[in-house]
Assembly symmetry: C2
Homo-oligomer: 153 residues x 2
């Protein structure tokens, strides 16, 4: 659909003498993909920072860990907005169509992520790595479970 629209739009823009900056408005699907990929990039970065502390690759800093956990928890709350537009798949997207043909399944996977990410903030409050570790593992499982079903490899 999108691809079919690009040529006519480009032609129309050329005829009207518009620069690419004028006609290259983001489509709603592109905006949705950009939004959710932004949320995942931030999630991945802060999850990675926590992972390095969990593995002992970097020194455990309870305050930083807490902040990272809060960022991931917030991302878990907002990333769903990026999937609200049905079939919002672009060339840049790794989303699978079953996100929208199996909305209940996708929703349950997203909610599991939200629950465990919130639990990780609570665990981070203890400042005790022994309590944090298993919860961190559970968050990682919710990531993998959703990617397995709903993300292209």
């Amino acid at each position: 659909m999108l691809k079919k629209m690009i040529l006519p739009l480009t032609l129309a823009a050329a005829i009207l003498g518009l620069s690419s900056a004028v006609y290259a408005e983001e489509s709603p699907a592109e905006a949705a993909v950009e939004y959710r990929q932004g949320a995942y990039t931030i999630t991945k970065t802060h999850f990675g920072r926590m992972g390095a502390m969990v593995k002992g690759a970097t020194e455990f800093n309870a305050g930083e860990f807490k902040k990272d956990a809060e960022v991931v928890a917030m991302m878990s709350q907002i990333v769903g907005r990026g999937f609200e537009l049905k079939d919002s798949i672009t060339d840049d997207s790794e989303a699978k169509p079953n996100i929208w043909t199996d909305p209940e399944g996708f929703k349950s996977k997203l909610e599991a992520f939200q629950v465990e990410a919130a639990n990780l903030v609570k665990a981070a409050d203890t400042g005790d790595m022994e309590q944090i570790k298993p919860v961190f593992g559970k968050v990682a499982e919710t990531c993998k479970a959703c990617h397995k079903e709903y993300r292209e490899d």
Copy 2:
């Protein structure tokens, strides 16, 4: 610098028989750009949602406004990490080199954003659009002030 590295990497990968998925590891600069652009995409989206309520284009929902303000405030706290890598400019980036030649100036602009974004959360707590409006305007000013100095047009 980055461009100069791409050809040798591609050749090396071809010689080693690696697929693009293997050798196309993100550079630190690319990762930094992706991170801060992710944070700005999320900021822009939630700021836009608030802006629509401020202008009356969408109905004011105090709870949603508060959540949007909290997201923007958190992004204001984390986006600076995306600029820590000196001279992290790529083809995708709109960052200007003076971010790193004038670090104090950039820092003061970023801090102004953080202060006003936190003030907006407090204003949102009142649930009173008359109190929210001027603070929203101040946040917008901090965005513009930083973009004017440190972002390519």
